[in-house]
Subunit: 141 residues, 2 copies
Amino acid sequence: MKTITKLNSQETLLKYGISPSIHRMTIMNYMLQHRTHPTADEIYSHLHGDIPTLSKTTIYNTLKLLVAKGAIQEITIDEKNTRYDAEIEPHSHFKCNVCGHIYDVPSPKIGGITDKSIYKISEVQVYYRGICTICRSLLMH
Amino acid sequence: MKTITKLNSQETLLKYGISPSIHRMTIMNYMLQHRTHPTADEIYSHLHGDIPTLSKTTIYNTLKLLVAKGAIQEITIDEKNTRYDAEIEPHSHFKCNVCGHIYDVPSPKIGGITDKSIYKISEVQVYYRGICTICRSLLMH
DNA sequence: TTATCAAATTGTAATCATTACAATTTTAGA
DNA sequence: TCTAAAATTGTAATGATTACAATTTGATAA
């Protein structure tokens, strides 16, 4: 099992032209396994137990590299921290204002200014905010 | 002229249930006149010349209040700073990765998860990133 | 008008995410 | 093995934002 996921993260790194060091594989692996849109700090906290030598700077460096190479994406739906997402297929995000959870949701069909003659668009982010089903039912008693 | 814009900012504040103090009117007025999606710090820098007693904390407090009351909106398209926008009619944003300018663009028709049965959506933000026309033509010589 | 109380504002210090940077370690290839 | 480049580390700096206690302002009632 572990071998397989390690392999997956290694393959992913190679696919995006990133030399697969141990730490990079560990971080990539974490991202592939945890689709919770973690912050740099959350990743650090979770990995620090297993690999005490892993520094927070490496987390930041690696995440920045992964984003630059297109292996993961950055999302700014959370006003406090930058969050990261290993899912790079088109999708949107919904943040519950009550529990703070960020959900992956299907991307809407975008019309509007996809008109490439005006702006050269390289990225589209759609952020929804509101109350998720769980919190809503809790609020209703 | 000045009287008119002051009046407009006062009216706007009253409309949103905010008691119109001098500073709040000044900040609201700035927001109404400058559709550049300014940061708290930019607002402070611009107003500080005229009103040296205006503190940065008041800028932050006021912006937060204006957002809470719905008089302006917060946008997080810029990874560094929170930006604010007096335009509250539905529209989207385009950020040029070269010059950093943030443009207002028409909102796309949103299909997808506007399905209210799943999530109670209170806010939708659409962020585009890429290269704006000006920078693109400059890059082409 | 004056006293009073709440609201508004201020300045400073604290917090917290992120980055800069120089030093050290690791890795791959000659 | 040796060496240069790449990767990683720890610490300090930066910069945005918030906390908070103190002060000022403004509206109201006596």
